[in-house]
């Protein structure tokens, strides 16, 4: 096998050195009944051209050359060429978790920069080195609130990403929690009074998402006030952090968590993505996941290392703040490079263009007689009422378009409504065509 650096002769020599005359002897420790006494029922190894051809054929079975208007937790923003050029440095992508800081300073400093960037974006004081994705960041955040408050009830907005809420249910099923759902109102935000209803001194956390699943920006200030009245923590989830280029960060929150795919990570059919979790310094020891800290070496030189590991499973075992070990470091690096490249102006411009495109599209729909389902302010996603039947996959595909998400799948009450996303990558004429198809 071409990946294996041994000649038959070298194998013989090594076997001899260990005093075996057959490779079989090395497996003597495995009792006979546990041995596989046949070849695996797989094909013989393929050459590289065959492997490449196989995936080229699979790729050709997917959409190629389409303009997509899907968002719903996975966003298509332009990735500068430098991102891939730099994460392809093998010292980054073929390294393990930086357990040996003296030969891992590259990864460690980059993560420290990631933690800083997330703090700057979210308005929080500390951020961790990443979590699996936005959906798993939600239960991690809620469990953190439980640890911080010692309470076991959470109120979660129905406008939080439905798949995130499904993951929350799965994760917390055996944690003795009660989870209440807060309905949304006509404006698409958490409904009037829903927050008030959630109040109580057993309340651990209030969870909202902003922009929420409908693209609507929530009133974080109000949510914070009510959460804090009950001595609960406010958790703000963010699935489209590009919004933070222009939208005020949820600084009143106690925990800001979410998905950073939108900032430089390829769509890649849903993963790998990168979850983030940020909070206030006072909660740092309740945080899940890895943290990189600054320190000095023997000569007083600045350096970085993993720190506060006593929160983690490999030391705390069953008392750990989470079981997470491997996280999404390379995706966090993509985000770090993406944000460094766009920079202060670039990220703002990115957000403004998304805002403008979504506004333009919404207006077009309005003109075409298709109205928005919700009245609240929105960033780059908008729900259009009752147009699903017209925008069939077939009609759209004929025009090399991928339309929005039919909401009935997650919200029976919104069946027929479509969630559409408009980023800087959608040309005006394609938006116009999309609107025509959906409204005729």
């Amino acid at each position: 096998m071409r990946y294996l650096p041994k000649s038959p002769e070298e194998r013989r020599a090594m076997l001899a050195a260990v005093g075996c005359d057959s490779i079989e002897q090395l497996f003597a420790g495995i009792p006979e009944p546990a041995r596989l006494r046949r070849e695996l029922n797989l094909e013989p190894g393929w050459s590289e051209p065959e492997v490449l051809r196989y995936f080229l054929e699979r790729a050709a079975e997917n959409a190629r050359g389409f303009t997509s208007f899907l968002g719903a937790g996975a966003y298509d923003h332009f990735r500068p060429a430098v991102v891939d050029a730099l994460i392809s440095r093998s010292e980054f992508y073929t390294a393990y978790t930086p357990y040996q800081p003296e030969i891992s300073q590259g990864t460690l400093q980059a993560i420290f920069e990631f933690q800083t960037l997330i703090c700057q974006l979210t308005g929080m004081e500390v951020a961790n080195a990443s979590l699996y994705d936005g959906s798993t960041a939600l239960p991690e955040a809620v469990m953190m609130a439980v640890r911080a408050t010692g309470r076991h009830r959470a109120a979660v907005a129905r406008s939080v990403h439905p798949e995130y809420r499904q993951v929350l249910d799965t994760y917390l099923r055996h944690q003795g929690m009660t989870i209440e759902e807060m309905p949304y109102g006509e404006d698409g935000r958490v409904a009037e009074g829903a927050l008030a209803k959630a109040k109580g001194d057993d309340l651990a956390a209030v969870v909202v998402q902003s922009p929420n699943f409908f693209g609507v920006i929530e009133d974080v200030t109000a949510a914070a006030a009510l959460a804090h009245e009950s001595g609960a923590l406010l958790i703000v989830m963010i699935a489209e952090p590009a919004s933070l280029g222009i939208v005020r960060p949820p600084a009143e929150a106690d925990i800001v968590a979410g998905e950073a795919q939108s900032l430089g990570v390829p769509l890649s059919f849903g993963g790998p993505y990168v979850g983030f979790l940020a909070t206030r310094e006072k909660f740092v020891r309740n945080m899940p996941g890895r943290l990189v800290g600054q320190t000095t070496d023997a000569n007083g030189e600045r350096g970085f290392c993993l720190t506060l590991a006593t929160r983690e499973q490999h030391i705390r075992r069953e008392k750990a703040t989470s079981n997470i070990c491997t996280n999404q470091a390379l995706c966090a690096l993509m985000v770090t490079i993406f944000l460094s490249t766009y920079g202060k102006q670039g990220l703002r411009e990115l957000a403004l263009q998304n805002l403008a495109k979504a506004q333009y599209a919404a207006e077009r729909f309005e003109r075409a007689g298709a109205s928005r389902r919700f009245s609240g302010p929105f960033f780059n996603e908008v729900v259009i009422r009752g147009v699903a039947q017209r925008g069939t996959a077939e009609r759209l595909a004929a025009e090399k378009l991928i339309g929005g998400l039919e909401l009935g799948r997650y919200y029976p009450e919104l069946a027929g409504d479509v969630l559409l996303c408009f980023t800087e990558t959608a040309p005006r004429d394609r938006i116009d065509r999309l609107v025509e198809i959906y409204s005729s």
């Binding site: 096998m1 990946y3 041994k6 070298e10 090594m14 050195a17 260990v18 490779i23 420790g29 495995i30 009792p31 546990a34 070849e39 029922n41 797989l42 190894g45 590289e48 995936f55 080229l56 997917n62 190629r64 997509s68 730099l86 093998s90 992508y93 073929t94 393990y96 978790t97 800081p101 590259g106 400093q109 980059a110 920069e113 800083t116 500390v126 951020a127 799965t170 055996h174 944690q175 939208v247 960060p249 993963g271 800290g293 600054q294 320190t295 590991a309 490999h314 075992r317 069953e318 997470i324 070990c325 491997t326 996280n327 999404q328 995706c331 690096l333 490079i337 805002l355 302010p377 991928i402």
Partner: protein, 500 residues
Amino acid sequence: MADQDIKKARRHVTQNEALIFERSAPGKDSFRLPPLDVPAVDPAVVLGAGAVRGGIEGFPEVSEIEVVRHFTRLSTWNYGVDTGAYLLGSCTMKYNPKINEVVARLEGIANAHPLQPEELSQGCLRVMQRLAECLLEITGMDAITLQPAAGAHGELTGLLLVRAYLESKGNPRRRVLIPDSAHGTNPASAMQVGYQTQSIASNARGTVDLAMLDRAMNEDVAALMLTNPNTLGVFEDQIAEIAAMVHARGGLVYMDGANMNALVGVSRPGDFGVDVLHLNLHKTFSTPHGGGGPGAGPVAVKKNLEPFLPVPRVVEKPDGALALDYNQPQSIGRVRAFYGNYGMLVRALAYILANGRDGLRQSTEDAVLNSAYLRKGLEGHYELPYSSPTLHECVFSDKRQARHGVRTGDIAKRLIDYGFHPYTVSFPLIVPGALMIEPTESESKQELDLLIDALQSIAREAEQEPELVLRAPHSTRVGRLDEVQAARKPILRWKPANGG
């Protein structure tokens, strides 16, 4: 040994580099987008003045070449598999084939949206289906989910399946048994599923003590969480008896598949009594570890647990087309949005196809041969706490060196000067001062001979000039870092000099 006598490595000039924030200067041009082709809007009007933010305080403003140099320089401070042997035990740091990086970036795959219509995603789904088939054949299990994002995530998923299954039988039970040699994620995961954990002490051979298990295993125990081969690299030779005992008392056998690299093509968990198993594609199946992820932790189960697998599942329609099935009434639900770390699934399949049955088997044999060769070369120089035969890795202890005040952590640091990435130091807990070494099949005889030389030489240094080892590494751009200080007053993010 003096610098110049070290065969494998030498010091060379490398660049210093400040934090990206320290490179920033107001008004530097950065990345630009094409001109907006729709009317611009005033955010204050559209969102309301209160909802809009100004420029982000302290956010970087740097040019493209500065970004390129910044991360290029940082990368040169790292050590990767492409640099040299990466000996972390239990991490299986094998070669990451370059073609896998190419196929994962193909148009049609890298830009596929997870929610795009199924008719436009058949290629993506076929890859998942084919990978699932391969992994089931390799493990001897009946059904699988590719959703978990890493090993620990797989453990959580697997134990949720155990619990759901037992609940369906009327009693979820309360405890999970975990050998004291297990990885920390095992108990942590059990706890997240609401199980108490009970540690099972290993016997003198480093394997599960049957008598102990006999005492602990009762109607209150949901599962035994086993790593096989275990973290000493030893195969549980009484696995048949163990599985029988657990099953006889209504429990399930969960296997942590972190060490599957010792078994692929040689032994199948499905054939030795395992009910639930998670794999680490970022270990056994060569997906790059990325400096700490992403990984992928598929969970394979026996038929009786299949109904509980997470949704959605990839199913074949009568017309042969593939679809995602969400209608699984007994499913535990979702453990992650969408379908998992898809890009890692692509790479793992590429690895399996390139190796094929012959290559996979040969890889396993080479991995075990490398470990045996290494063990042979180090016996007599380092203490071997357990003499049982080992497979893909071997665990020594620093007992002899400790007499001179040199601990495993010091030996590891010194090994850096010799040009290697150290082994795992802090694990398994049953071996005080462990040196847990996993060479994988990717190391050549030459590289292993250099490693044996190096560790033998360090053993001599530990006796003759312990100070040299205690103050190591001497060859790196930063010396030993003060981890205590880092934890005592944590600095977890950069702040503007003016303290913004």
